[in-house]
């Protein structure tokens, strides 16, 4: 493998070039990815920390692409459930990996959109010529979640530390009450509404009149598609086993619509309408990590690395769910129309849709909103409905309902898989195959992105 032994002048020149060029930005390509199998919370990774899992995902990526002791431009990753001691989670993972210790890193946190946002941020840096290579990633452990002491106990402990004399210390301690001892466990509830994510989605699911059958069918397809992808070796170069797991432990290859139909609803039971959301059509709490290798075309070529897809563009949106104007997880319904308009594209111009399955209801509510005339006119400012997608292009290798959803790791899972699918597809009607990624996030946010197959004519090989 050729070493990147550029002299400082050459390196400077290379990085300076794109900025100076009138044509503007260069391409950021997805070279490949790696993740560990996702494990249901309390399962195989119960004893693994976020740092352990992120390091494992990085090391698998490094091994796949021969990046040992390489100084990469930057590594960005994050976790949604994060210990305060993990303030430098990504940098610590880099230091524990086979990468050069001179690789800088930063943490990012945007709830479930964390992983995709690291991809977009780093791709932008590559496009601008600020860096030539990067790893984007994410990790989450619901098993090893941080537990905080109560505000009461915290106040006492901090004051105790400040107290100078014995009597002052005793005085501080006398403030302690039994209720202060109970710890604060994290939950996925929204701070401003007190509702869990599932209860929020149940409101939206009911609003868009999404049936139980439609949700179960989406869940069933997710399991079926993911199992088929494993069986044909799709994940052989996307995944590295970890702690005895070789597949996502949430995957149920033998599930059926009948079995899914027997599950009792868990969300929306107090809405009056029929409750439709079950453990089968909602994602479980999951542990896992993912990483995506990005680079400029030149950087990939110098190392003989594959160029699977380009990161074309991305968009974030947020909705006012607090006042009930829109559903908590509906931001992508706004982000996608804006992103497509900016790029002069319609839903018909895509070959793959990767819509993160936080809940089956989330995907179906988003699609319903896009197909709704009224929503299109009043909320999107369009002449009519935004459009509909060809459902045979949706989550064709499974998504979060089957794989599980370690919050910050989901973006990396989707981007790496989609890049591989696009590369295999190559050209469609004289243009590169195109994929849409849509990820909803807590706080009423959403991040979406467009990836395109790396031009086959310029050296793509399926």
């Amino acid at each position: 493998m050729p070493e990147a032994a550029l002299s400082p002048e050459e390196s400077h020149e290379r990085q300076g070039q794109p900025l100076a060029r009138a044509r503007g930005v260069r391409k950021a390509v997805v070279i490949g990815g790696n993740r560990i199998p996702f494990a249901r919370s309390g399962g195989a990774y119960t004893r693994s920390s976020n740092q352990d899992m992120l390091t494992a995902a990085l090391d698998g990526l490094i091994a796949r692409f021969g990046l040992q002791e390489e100084r990469l431009g930057e590594v960005a990753a994050g976790a949604v459930l994060k210990h305060s001691r993990d303030f430098n989670l990504t940098r610590e993972a880099v230091l524990g990996s086979a990468l050069s210790a001179e690789t800088p890193a930063y943490d990012l946190q945007q709830a479930c959109a964390t992983g995709l946002e690291t991809v977009l941020g780093l791709a932008n840096k590559i496009k601008l010529g600020q860096i030539d290579s990067a790893v984007a990633g994410g990790v989450d452990s619901a098993s090893d979640a941080p537990i905080a002491v109560s505000d009461g106990l915290r106040g006492v402990l901090l004051d105790l530390n400040r107290a100078k004399t014995l009597s002052a210390r005793l005085k501080v301690l006398s403030r302690l009450r039994p209720k202060d001892i109970a710890p604060d466990a994290p939950d996925t509830g929204e701070p401003r509404t007190g509702l869990s994510m599932g209860e929020h989605q149940a409101l939206t699911t009911a609003q868009w009149k999404i049936t139980r059958e439609a949700q179960d069918e989406l869940a069933y397809n997710s399991h079926r598609n993911l199992a088929a992808a494993y069986d044909r070796g799709f994940f052989d170069d996307l995944l590295t086993p970890y702690r005895g797991l070789t597949r996502d432990s949430n995957l149920r290859p033998d599930t059926s619509l009948e079995k899914l139909a027997t599950l009792k609803p868990v969300f929306g039971k107090t809405l009056g309408a029929e409750a439709t959301m079950t453990a089968g059509n909602s994602t479980p709490l999951t542990d896992g990590a993912s990483a995506v290798l990005l680079g400029s075309e030149e950087w990939a070529d110098e190392r003989g690395l594959p160029k699977l897809a380009t990161v074309l563009d991305g968009e974030a949106a947020a909705v006012d769910f607090v006042h009930g104007k829109d559903g908590l997880l509906m931001a992508p319904a706004f982000a996608v129309p804006r992103l497509l308009a900016r790029n002069g594209l319609t839903l018909a111009d895509f070959d793959f849709f990767e819509i993160h399955e936080a809940f089956a209801g989330t995907v179906l509510s988003t699609l319903a909103a896009w197909e709704d005339e009224d929503f299109g006119r009043r909320r999107l400012g369009l002449p009519g409905a935004f459009g509909s997608i060809d459902r045979s292009k949706l989550n064709v290798n499974g998504s979060s309902l089957a794989a599980g959803h370690p919050f910050a790791a989901t973006g990396g899972r989707i981007v790496a898989s989609l890049a591989k699918m696009l590369h295999a597809k190559g050209m469609v009607d004289g243009r590169p195959a195109r994929g849409l990624v849509s990820i909803c996030a807590a706080g009423g946010q959403g991040v979406v992105a467009i990836l395109e197959a790396y031009p086959a004519a310029e050296g793509g090989q399926a």
């Binding site: 490094i62 091994a63 796949r64 021969g66 002791e69 590295t240 003989g304």
Partner: protein, 451 residues
């Protein structure tokens, strides 16, 4: 890394006790380390000195001198020797063996621990003269007997020259260096045939594989991981291949040797093309291919089922044949690589409960012999290494008593290390072994079965 018994009897009380009780007294073998001397003392070069045939021994002695060795043409009294090289390529009748062999005999007791006896002679098959063939074949018996006689980790091995090779052919010198060095620690009583004058001595003997790209299958653990480490140590860039389910161990090995990990089931139809594509795209060439991946599914033949039979054949031999076909037929490989395949002494001597495994490993030997001319036509070589009892996770699961017996049943009275197998493979994969093809080298410490 030697077993506990070997450590116990290697020194002090344990050594005395084993001596008094007549127990086996294995010693810690002299193994290769970069920078350490090639041999543990001067090298005595013996050749026929009558009839004015002294040229080859002199020339060989000069060559060994150029390696920085201390060379003797005549033994000095009481001087410990690192090795005895016995040049017997000119013997024509059995009587010709007497003088050189008995000259060597007088120095055998002076051989240092970890010393070497290496003969250089011609293959019996290359002579049509019965007396000459008898003399040449006699050397086989001599070497195997001396190997059993030597103690303290000393070994005896032989180099056989085909009709197109001479004592100073690169292959001869390469094999000689291998046998003299600690790289051959667990090779004993064996012969390597040098059939052609091709090959090349390495620029740097500590980096004989510099600039080469090597693919190792089954690299996630055990012998495969040791092969990856050894080839990397010798300078090669490594493509580490193993099944996706072993990907975590594979990644560790790949990161350790700074290579690339390729998660691939070698039994899939396009495995060969995927290996070639990965090696060329990522590393720019494919110079060495080590077929190491193998499985055991032991069962007495009377109880054998088709699943156990079929999977062993599919992984251990059918996949190798298919991958070799892909390599021989690839338009992207201008020169064929050096292929080394891992056979097993089970494939030579058989093993109870391993009829399927022995079929596959015997198959490897047959494949290697028949493939040599095909590889030669494209500038490549193919050889096999047949490990005997090697201390691995797999053999650690053998019941204690069976294991203890199995590991003592060879001239060195101990099991080998995975690294010992890897050293033999690294040598056969090097340019110095360019004149060696279609060979099966046993790394078994001269196992008493199937020799």
């Amino acid at each position: 890394m030697s077993d506990k018994y070997t450590q116990f009897v290697s020194r002090g009380f344990g050594r005395d006790l084993a001596g008094r009780l007549g127990l086996p007294r294995p010693v810690e073998l002299r193994r290769y380390m970069a920078g350490s001397p090639l041999v543990p003392g001067p090298v005595l070069v013996i050749g026929r000195q009558d009839e004015g045939q002294g040229k080859e021994p002199e020339a060989l002695a000069a060559e060994l001198l150029s390696w920085g060795l201390d060379v003797r043409r005549n033994a000095l009294p009481k001087e410990k020797l690192g090795a005895i090289v016995l040049l017997l390529d000119e013997v024509r009748r059995p009587e010709d063996l007497e003088v050189p062999v008995l000259t060597a005999a007088r120095s055998l007791r002076d051989l240092a621990a970890g010393g070497r006896v290496v003969t250089v002679s011609r293959t019996a098959e290359s002579s049509a003269d019965p007396a000459e063939a008898a003399a040449r074949q006699g050397i086989d018996g001599i070497v195997r007997s001396v190997a059993k006689e030597l103690r303290d980790g000393a070994t005896a091995n032989g180099i056989l020259l085909g009709s197109d090779a001479v004592p100073r052919s690169p292959g001869t010198l390469g094999a000689l260096r291998f046998f003299l060095s600690g790289r051959s620690a667990f090779v004993d009583g064996q012969f390597l045939t040098v059939s052609t004058a091709s090959g090349r001595q390495p620029g740097d003997p500590d980096k004989p594989l510099a600039g080469k790209v090597a693919v190792v299958t089954g690299a996630a653990r055990g012998i495969g991981a040791a092969i990856a480490r050894t080839l990397h140590r010798d300078g090669a860039a490594i493509v580490a291949v193993d099944v996706p389910a072993a990907g975590d161990h594979l990644a560790e090995v790949a990161n350790e040797v700074k290579g690339t990990a390729l998660q691939l089931d070698i039994t899939v139809p396009d495995a060969g093309d995927r290996i070639i594509h990965h090696a060329l795209e990522r590393h720019g060439s494919l110079d060495i291919l080590v077929h190491n991946a193998g499985i055991t599914r032991d069962k007495l033949l009377a109880n054998m089922d088709d699943g156990r039979w079929r999977s062993v054949i599919a992984v251990n031999i059918a996949s190798q044949l298919r991958i070799n076909d892909a390599i021989l037929g690839s338009p992207d490989l201008p020169v064929a690589p050096r292929i080394v395949s891992v056979a097993s002494t089970s494939g030579i001597a058989g093993n109870r409960g391993q009829s399927n495994y022995a079929a596959s490993k015997g198959g490897v030997i047959g494949m290697v012999r028949a493939s040599a001319p095909l590889l030669a036509a494209q500038g490549g070589t193919i050889n096999a290494v047949a490990p005997g009892f090697i201390e691995t996770e797999m053999t650690a699961r053998i019941p204690l008593l069976t294991r203890e017996v199995a590991r003592r049943l060879n001239s060195l009275q101990q099991g080998g290390d995975p690294g010992d197998v890897a050293e033999a493979i690294a040598f056969l994969a090097s340019d110095a072994a360019g004149g060696i093809s279609g060979e099966v080298l046993r790394v078994c410490g001269q196992n008493l079965v199937g020799a």
